[in-house]
Point group: C2
Chain length 542, copies 2
């Protein structure tokens, strides 16, 4: 049979974008502007350099440490395009974890930005598996160093470009990235050509068709504000290339330059975490800037309603999304449904800041400990488990953790949520922080919020402690305000919580029996309450 | 490994649509309005009836003869949903061809609308392979007939609904349809779950994101005006269901009812052939109606510019598309690129009426007889050959024709085209009507258009006749106008064509040497010039 067995490959996205918009621009900071057609030539040249001079074979791994750039986008296509694996390295990891991930990934080639030269020089003696080191520079000449055997632009210049990217099996591994939890070593998640293609198509149709907040079209100008080393910048560069959008890559994030690029390049489509949005809003307010029509998808953490309202005041169109490194990443987007177009602002923003609605091909359930669906009654909580055609098959070389991730054939997100009205998901906690007590799940975040409303409470953390009868019971750790130290009692706080029980906002069973008063609550390096330490402190106590 | 091997299946579209828009409406004529959630229940009930009472096994074939209805949409999901093949039967075929296709498909079950009862009664004695006949009726009771063992609604009422549609391999065959050429028996084309899913996703992202003429969104109201028995109504019902659109099914097409439905249901998204659009425009002009914002995709035949302009005057947003039964069907859509937004109307409409631009994942080439790409210079013509992940693997049980279709690993469309500016495709002829002469391709349509500009020409047809030296040479068959009969000469017409050669509009080589004058040109049953008959008439003559 001569029929062509079409394999889903990332090159199809690129080829479409180039065909549709050969003269469209890809901008790098205030330094460079490439046409799609030139960009495509550079991808083929890079592919030639990889397979030629660097001798990269299908299945080998190329590690990349780089800021957001046209070069990174070139690697997004050229490295998987020759059948190799692009290992996107997060430079924010500790040197120890960085080394661990590079050794674990067995990187054959390392491509790195000159900013990371000291780091690479430091790690080099341990990286015996890396065959060649390629340095990237924004300058005319790369810094002289014995570490880098090659410079990116020189390599491209010398290369014999491929005529086309080769045909690959769609199940060829395309990318690899490491995710860090609070426990254990970083874990490698990996995605195939097919998975990334299907993620792109579903995300593309979602952004374009489902929006009530403003749909993405070929008229948009895209700029990432989630780094490209972080789960393919949420897969958005692939969508942008498919649609032939003008793309703006800001390099290392510098607030002044970012604001300038948004204005001068006419950016209309972005994604970032709430912290970055907060920076944007603060800077805009300080300088009296507005950004009418700028669509920003928010993920990575809960989008506070106050922040969403502040962004709206600047003309920014804002809505939340949700996903994990394990899920390529997008699972949900907080699009409004058609009938919500007439709602008042407050109700609309409640939708915008929710965890969102599963995008096409995502089968999302919220289940109890036994894997049964919890009731979609707006209250009952459980763990989010998912299926979709773009989820990592496991953790690289970690069969046990992989089995746990995929227990029962569903990917376990570790996020605790309930269904809100109209099928929207709302995450309320991380699974490991939920308190399992007498068959009920008690959400620590809810309790902490309610406790913090008492005038004597400066800070509150609630954890589960082992209980012989009820499995776990909640324990509240409280930092009293000035003037309340030594005076605030557990009974007072119990009484405070009882009122919410009476109002139906809290189940009686959730009210903690024990209250510990401390001067300080231990925090992690990024400022989150360190519940692991708290649990260790109180697990043996009664 | 517990990781779930996600298979692309049509049920995922349905499940998404129902989850997103459970209260959205599916309207049938002026008779019925179903919510998506009720529709989904009916699909599960139908699936239960098929697997239960009707005993349909995976891989068996269910033939369907039906107008456009919610019932047909139910079958679009339930029949493939249980792993069976939905054979969409074109009732416009001759009874002989109908019988041929049903026997060739080996339909196990036949579902038919009561309008076709006389036909089914006539064919029944020959349909020994059909196990059960299910009749569909809009009325309260189906007409009594010994042919129909079952009535659709009664069957559904009795059925035990499935809880969910089962999981299938994505390469399971989902649909089968027959296409008729001018020669030979109808040919069966078939598509898998995966193919239809990928067609839906690419078409969805195209309609939503690429439009310059108006993008489709979840706010649209969809109504087909290409029958559902014709290549899945261009795959649009699947897109509409994915997006949770309000859908309107008009049953048998009746102009009065169609116009009424568009107005009362607020239809905004439709597709049809130019003939239907012409009917709509004529009726609207006669009744002084307008349709502001109604998006109509035109396919099946070339969209005349005059018709497009007339439709625009009524507020209709119009653009062309292209595909074949063999291609599921969509290959191109005539979307304007962003920089065309500023063009004047005339230039924009030239884009709208072109054959269009390949949608994502379609690899479209225009090649000469040796399979080499012709130059994309705006003139050079060749055959369109394609690859995409949703093309039929061949013709059912016809290995030779299948090999010919897929010669060299590219699906041969039989359409002759050139690339216009900016990568748009323009079809100029059918391959079998092109004249191959001295290594050049001469487009018969061009010659016919130019000949018809002579005041003495009522009608012109140009065919290729065998030539010992040049392979073929063009021969013009002319019906002179009243008053020119017996007077018009070949030399006059040659002279007439020479002026276009001098203007650079025609290559000299294309000017026919021979001119035959006749009273009438033979036509096919649908009114097209019958070139097969003409070629037969003149092939032996000199």
């Amino acid at each position: 049979m001569s029929a062509y067995g079409y394999q889903l490959q990332l090159k199809h996205l690129l080829e479409h974008g180039v065909r549709w918009a050969p003269d469209q621009e890809i901008v790098y900071r205030d330094k460079l502007c490439l046409k799609y057609s030139d960009f495509y030539s550079r991808v083929l040249r890079l592919a030639g350099a990889l397979t030629g001079e660097l001798g990269v074979k299908p299945g080998e791994t190329v590690g990349v440490i780089e800021w957001d750039s046209h070069r990174y986008l070139e690697m997004y296509f050229a490295i998987p395009g020759i059948g190799a694996v692009m290992h996107t390295i997060n430079p924010r990891l500790s040197p120890g974890d960085l080394l661990y991930t590079m050794k674990h990934a067995e990187d054959d080639i390392l491509v790195f930005h000159e900013d990371f030269l000291p780091l690479v020089e430091q790690l080099r003696p341990e990286l015996s598996h890396v065959r060649r080191f390629v340095i990237l520079t924004d300058g005319v000449e790369a810094p002289k160093t014995p570490v880098a055997s090659d410079e990116y632009e020189a390599l491209l210049k010398r290369a014999k470009p491929l005529e086309k990217l080769p045909d690959l099996d769609e199940n060829t591994r395309a990318t690899l990235a490491y995710t860090t939890g609070t426990t254990g070593k970083p874990k490698g998640v990996y995605f195939t050509q097919r998975q990334l293609m299907l993620h792109t198509l579903s995300l593309g149709v979602s952004l374009a068709a489902f929006g009530g907040q403003g749909s993405a079209t070929t008229r948009d100008v895209y700029m990432p504000l989630t780094p490209m080393f972080h789960v393919h910048a949420w897969g958005m560069p692939y969508v942008a290339t498919l649609l032939g959008l003008k793309q703006v890559y800001p390099g290392r994030y510098e607030p002044e330059l970012l604001a300038k690029l948004v204005k001068t390049e006419g950016v209309t489509l972005t994604h970032c975490v709430p912290t970055i949005l907060q920076m944007v809003v603060t800077a805009a307010e300080a300088h009296g800037l507005t950004f009418p029509g700028w669509k920003i998808v928010i993920g990575g953490a809960r989008l506070p309603k106050g922040l969403a309202l502040a962004a709206r005041k600047l003309g920014i169109i804002i809505y939340a999304g949700y996903g994990l490194s394990e899920t390529a990443p997008v699972l949900t987007l907080a699009f409004r449904k058609p009938f919500m177009d007439d709602w008042d602002e407050d109700a609309q923003v409640d939708v915008d800041v929710s965890t969102g609605f599963p995008i096409p091909l995502v089968d999302l359930r919220i289940v109890d400990e036994h894997g049964n669906d919890v009731e979609a009654d707006g209250h009952a909580t459980g763990e989010i488990v998912v299926r979709a055609p773009w989820l990592t098959e496991g953790y690289l070389k970690e069969p046990e953790r992989s089995e746990k991730l995929w227990k029962g054939g569903w990917l376990h997100t570790g996020d605790v949520a309930h269904f809100k009205e109209y099928g929207y998901v709302q995450i309320v906690d991380r699974l490991k922080d939920v308190i399992k007590s007498g068959g009920e799940w008690i959400v620590s975040l809810d309790l902490e919020n309610l406790l913090s409303l008492h005038e004597g409470v400066l800070e509150a953390a609630v954890i589960g402690v082992p209980d012989p009868k009820w499995d776990e019971r909640p324990l509240a750790v409280i930092v009293p305000r000035e003037g309340w130290r030594g005076k605030l009692t557990g009974d007072q706080l119990k009484e405070h919580l009882e009122q919410f029980v009476n109002q139906g906002k809290l189940i009686r069973w959730a009210v903690p029996d024990r209250y510990e008063f401390v001067d300080e609550i231990p925090k992690t390096s990024v400022g989150k309450i360190d519940k692991k330490v708290l649990r260790k402190t109180y697990e043996g106590t009664q």
